[in-house]
Symmetry: C2
Subunit: 144 residues, 2 copies
């Protein structure tokens, strides 16, 4: 089950890397309540608005590649044989033709992303995505 979730999650990055607008559109639930938070931005809501933002972003980036690390998948309900919802978090290490910069609105080569996917008749689809830049500001450790 996690493999099917991860395949869709990876296909999202493939779509950005190859500028494949049709693939990108196929990955999202079509619903006015889906959401996408680009780094540093307000949430976008609804499939039309979210896909439009990706089309613009993909049109404005040349070579780009995502190296994903620290990938975690959790499915809900916990322990269910047929989960309905999945949470994927990862760190995006972004390499582009301009050097290490983000494909999204906020500069910086590293972002953390939390995605929600839902299990639909056609398979797992993206419902929500929240990405933010990593500023390398550690939380102070009380034991230090």
């Amino acid at each position: 089950m996690s493999d099917a979730v991860l395949a869709v999650h990876r296909a999202f990055y493939d779509a950005v890397e190859t500028g494949d607008v049709d693939l990108m559109a196929s990955l999202w639930v079509d619903d006015a309540e889906i959401s996408c938070v680009h780094p540093g931005s307000h949430p976008l809501r609804g499939t039309a608005q979210v896909l439009r933002s990706w089309t613009v972003l993909m049109a404005n980036v040349g070579y780009i590649q995502f190296f994903l690390t620290d990938i975690q998948v959790v499915t809900f309900p916990r322990g269910a044989a047929e989960p309905t919802t999945a949470l994927v978090s990862c760190t995006e290490n972004i390499l582009s033709g301009d050097g290490l910069v983000s494909a999204e609105a906020f500069s910086g080569g590293k972002a953390v992303c939390t995605s929600i996917l839902v299990n639909q008749p056609a398979g797992w689809k993206l419902w929500s995505r929240h990405a933010s830049p990593i500023a390398e500001l550690p939380i102070p450790d009380p034991e230090d």
Copy 2:
């Protein structure tokens, strides 16, 4: 059902505003896979690490108040009478004793937050939280 989700979501902010560590601890699922992304930071994983970060943050902030706007609640499975999972997103407008600054590690008076809650026997609990600063960088509009 959304009311019960929102009550827990609001209690989280009450805990931060009042520095109530016990209330904060009561709101999270106790599991090694829960996660919390503070603005600008890497994900923290596991209840012990997440609660420790909040204890430190609450100890280091004086007066603080959150005005939540643009709150959206979606429950999964969509349309189910007994949903198992909920997604809450909101904009946090943060007022503190030092003026409009964030309670978390990243400066700035506005953040966007995506929270995942799960329905447990004891009620809705927080599973994941991802907050990021709003940098007011608009996504370019292709029609402009």
